[in-house]
């Protein structure tokens, strides 16, 4: 190594690299009401694909869940109910699993069966794009593809409000 080379700019460059890495990790903005919903196209268990784009014109309830997420055990029966009640009226529920091990998700689904669409993203790309802040998190997307509602967690006392939100979007459709 040439010892005459100035050391300081080198150190500065390293600091800049570290700062850039930090920004890349922290700088993603959370998806909020009014934003265009970040697109996704994810595989189902039956080797199909569900993309948000092909659901344009429908009310889409996107739910991020994981096998290790406690409240998800209570949200699944509710989402089944919503699917049954509004599935025929232009509402699609898409539950995005974020488990890194598919077997964990399968075990959960055997215990808490889902009658709505379940897709898998073990890479974290989609929750990253939405900058999901809690598990579970739900995004209610209007027929124009905009986010109309964001729900962090799943609480029993919010069921009625969530259903009302879905219903209001059906009417607006």
């Amino acid at each position: 190594m040439n010892m005459k080379s100035p050391v300081f700019p080198r150190g500065l460059r390293a600091a800049a690299a570290i700062a850039a890495l930090w920004l890349a990790a922290v700088g993603v903005q959370a998806a909020v009401v009014g934003d265009a919903a970040p697109a996704f196209a994810l595989p189902t268990a039956q080797s199909g694909t569900i993309s948000l784009l092909q659901l344009r014109g429908q009310v889409v309830y996107v739910d991020f869940w994981a096998s290790w997420c406690g409240p998800c055990r209570r949200s699944f029966p509710w989402m089944n109910e919503m699917q049954q009640r509004y599935g025929g009226r232009g509402v699609t529920i898409v539950a995005i699993n974020v488990d890194t091990k598919r077997a964990d998700a399968d075990r959960f689904l055997r215990q808490y069966p889902a009658t709505f669409a379940v897709v898998y993203d073990g890479t974290g790309a989609t929750p990253g794009a939405y900058a999901v802040q809690a598990m579970p998190s739900s995004y209610i997307i209007d027929p124009q593809g905009r986010i109309a509602g964001v729900e962090h967690g799943f609480r029993d006392e919010r069921r009625a409000a969530l259903e009302e939100k879905i219903r209001s979007l059906i009417v607006a459709r």
């Binding site: 100035p6 050391v7 300081f8 390293a14 922290v26 290790w68 997420c69 974290g124």
Partner: protein, 86 residues
């Protein structure tokens, strides 16, 4: 940059090897430059063996022994009121 390097304080840095500087930066920042796990990455942290209290039942039984045999209660996380009713 050159003007900076001519300042007395920075001149002393000239003799330092870049590797030493990087080591120093790593030691000073520690894990601060590491991003914490995102909410969807907490699967491992959610495992029972990762909890502060890995066996709640065992803790409960042990606490019951303390309460009933030693008349000692509380001082162990969120405590009871001292109504003497267990």
């Amino acid at each position: 940059m050159a003007a900076f390097a001519r300042l007395p304080g920075f001149r002393t840095l000239r003799g330092v090897r870049p590797a030493a500087l990087i080591l120093l930066a790593a030691a000073v920042t520690g894990c601060a430059t590491m991003a914490p796990p995102q909410p969807w990455e907490k699967g491992t942290l959610a495992r029972p063996e990762m909890q502060l209290d890995p066996d709640p039942l065992e803790t409960k039984i042990t606490q019951h022994v303390y309460t009933s045999k030693e008349a000692a209660t509380g001082g162990y996380g969120a405590g009871g009121g001292g109504c003497g009713c267990n």
